[in-house]
Amino acid sequence: MIVPFQHVLLLSALLFLLGMFCALTRRNLIMILLGVEIMLNAASMTFIGAALRWQQMEGQAMVIFILACGVGVDYRHLPQDRLH
């Protein structure tokens, strides 16, 4: 028995909030990207918690795609950052 699902949701909501706060307030492109990463991570955590709650692997499969999109965004944007 682990914690209730709501506690997992609360944790990932707080993480998402921190990421959003970072992306909104910081001016540096790298910090904005880090904020986006934190938000993606929080979404992954929600999916894994949901996968555990409903005992299905669908949520874990979704995390793979979140990971792929996050990595794609990073590798697309980071070389551009060197231009400035």
Partner: protein, 176 residues
């Protein structure tokens, strides 16, 4: 008292502390290193919630590849300090407002769902079974994701190549 809830709350506190420290650091290197700590905590949490394969991916890709890439970029380019105040009021007030609104909406939505208060039953997706499931049901999405990564790779190469001719005339102008 069960051990798993204690572990969960301890790791959750670690993650939240590390992420808060990362978001509020002015020095980018410290921010990235705190974020690596946060991602390690997240990987432990993934393992606790029954996803050992994704925990390994989290450490290898997020903490290992992306964060080290960020560190390289930070150290390679010379970053000038952010102008003005650290957290300007013009951005801080809307961000705080949006965050408060988001948290309120979350509390209302989570409170409306009564089914989520039962403790979760521990389970584990064995990596082999997970891989078979993934390629059995989501093979098309996997292909699309791999195409996306390929396009990102091409974009990085093209952008890197465009920079070189633009940088050369500048250095020639500067040398004489």
């Amino acid at each position: 008292m069960n051990l798993l809830p204690i572990l969960f709350y301890a790791i959750a506190a670690l993650i939240l502390t590390a992420t808060t420290l990362a978001v509020t650091r002015r020095n980018l290197v410290y921010a990235v290193i705190y974020l690596v700590l946060s991602f390690f905590g997240t990987a432990m949490l993934f393992y606790l919630m029954g996803a050992p394969f994704l925990a390994a991916l989290e450490i290898i890709i997020y903490a290992g590849a992306i964060m080290v890439l960020f560190l390289f970029i930070i150290m390679m380019i010379h970053l000038e300090k952010e102008p003005g105040k650290f957290l300007p009021r013009r951005q801080l007030i809307p961000a705080t407002l949006i965050s408060a609104l988001f948290l309120m909406a979350f509390i209302v939505l989570a409170g409306a769902d009564a089914g989520g208060w039962k403790p979760l039953v521990a389970a584990r997706a064995i990596p082999a079974a997970f891989g078979i499931y993934l390629f059995d049901t989501h093979w098309l999405s996997i292909e699309i994701a791999s195409m996306l990564l390929l396009v990102a790779l091409f974009a990085a190469i093209v952008l890197g190549r465009q920079m070189r001719p633009a940088a050369k005339p500048e250095s020639e102008e500067q040398t004489p």
